[in-house]
């Protein structure tokens, strides 16, 4: 029953995606003059790469030869104090058009952000509207969340049905990974008495990052290929979870090590306490930067290798470029697993520092 519910949700999601795509393909007549614009521009690899890595309000699929672009236009959800909530398709904002007093900035310091504009068309840079849009990254993230739910609800159903016996189907694929997280990450670091409390978090974070990183490597059909785990907001939130869990499970011993480090003379404490406090922040901060930079760097390298073809403007470069891209993809696959492991491992380590008993 539950699986059917999840499948239903998934189908509804696909339906929304494809309706939006169908809508996006109707080209408004007002844009005739904007076509042909991009044709004469020289190829600029760094903007090309950054466009592919960054989040955006529309999911660009391809640009036709006449400069017209095919993309899935995603919903824009805005909230501003004076106008309230506005929900509309990002097709209305495409190519610098204004809609309901909003505009999507295409250049300048606010590039890619939606700004409120007045009648004269001047952007109000002080009061940006709150942007809760379902952007490319959000679609990718929701998709992998649904995929994760689907996988694990199926898994728990099959355990309910057969109990602990020889694994079957999806069980035999996921069970070793779950056991790996328990036996190699949680148990040795947190210890046998306390690890159970933190298993749900560690498993969720492990599979969420893993699914997102793997889906981010599949380049084409739209719910895939969003740069989710290479998005700093995403990694920031995950690092925040680790930070909060660490602080809230910190015992007396943990706080004593911060505010009255044993074995340190009292006149050193004015130096030690700030250092320890910075340490609390910098650990999850490093966690955030590490995942973000690893995944983004991988994508940048792959995209620059693809760019070689367009820089040299010859088909002869293509085979070499493709071989290098495949090689890089293999490394990225390894990095995706490694970074997932590392994020979970370090989360477990930080938690273990907080719950460690005095000895």
């Amino acid at each position: 029953m539950k699986a059917r519910f999840v499948t239903g949700l998934f189908l509804i999601f696909l339906l929304i995606v494809f309706t939006l795509q169908a809508k996006g393909q109707e080209k408004p007549a007002a844009r005739e003059d904007d076509v042909h614009e991009n044709n004469s521009e020289a190829f600029n690899p760094s903007t090309f790469i950054l466009e592919h890595i960054a989040d955006s309000h529309e999911w660009h699929i391809l640009t036709k030869k006449n400069g017209e672009s095919v993309s899935i236009y995603l919903p824009v959800i805005l909230y501003s104090k004076d106008k309230g909530i506005d929900i509309f398709s990002s097709r209305r904002l495409a190519k610098g058009h204004e809609y309901k007093g909003y505009r999507l900035e295409e250049e300048g310091p606010l590039q890619g952000k939606i700004v409120a504009v007045n009648e004269a068309g001047i952007a109000d840079e002080k009061n940006l509207p709150f942007d809760f849009s379902i952007t490319k990254t959000v679609v990718g993230m929701l998709f992998s969340a649904l995929l994760g739910l689907f996988l694990f609800i199926t898994l728990s159903r099959s355990y309910k049905k057969t109990g602990i016996s020889h694994p079957k189907g999806i069980q035999s694929f996921l069970e070793p990974v779950i056991l790996f997280v328990r036996d190699e990450i949680a148990l040795p670091n947190i210890g046998i008495h306390k690890y159970e409390k933190y298993m749900p978090y560690l498993l969720s974070v492990f599979f969420f990052i893993l699914i997102n990183s793997l889906l981010g490597m599949i380049p084409f059909p739209p719910p895939f290929g969003a740069n989710v785990s290479g998005n700093i907001a995403f990694t920031f939130v995950l690092a925040c979870f680790t930070f909060l869990i660490t602080q809230f499970s910190g015992n007396k011993n943990y706080w004593r090590h911060i505010f009255a480090t044993p074995g340190v003379p009292f006149w050193l404490l004015p130096i030690m306490i700030p250092v320890e406090l910075i340490g609390i922040i910098s650990k999850p901060f490093a966690l955030m930067i590490r995942l973000f930079a690893n995944i983004t760097a991988g994508h940048i390298i792959v995209l620059s290798l693809v760019c070689l073809i367009f820089i040299f403007k010859s088909v002869a470069v293509a085979p070499a470029s493709i071989v290098l891209v495949i090689f890089m993809d293999c490394i990225e696959l390894f990095v995706a697993f490694l970074q997932t492991y590392v994020f979970t491992l370090l989360s477990a380590l930080f938690i273990s520092m907080a719950v460690e008993e005095h000895h």
Partner: protein, 68 residues
């Protein structure tokens, strides 16, 4: 000009990280050769240490990306 400086910075960070991770890898090899039965423990410790170094190197990469 800032672009060139950023590139030099990224290169310097790579030198540092390369030296650090190289040493960790070499020492781990020595340790595994001496005690092959402790391979899995040594590998975990090696990955943790190299990840910490890599984190610092990535700070440098991010800084050079931003200033570029």
């Amino acid at each position: 000009m800032t672009g060139t400086m950023a590139a030099i910075g990224a290169g310097l960070a790579v030198i540092g990280a390369g030296l650090g991770i190289g040493r960790i890898g070499g020492s781990a090899m020595d340790a595994i050769a001496r005690q092959p039965e402790a391979t899995s423990k040594i590998q975990t410790a090696m990955i943790i240490a190299s990840v910490l170094i890599e984190g610092v190197a990535l700070f440098a990469v991010v800084v050079s990306l931003i200033t570029n």
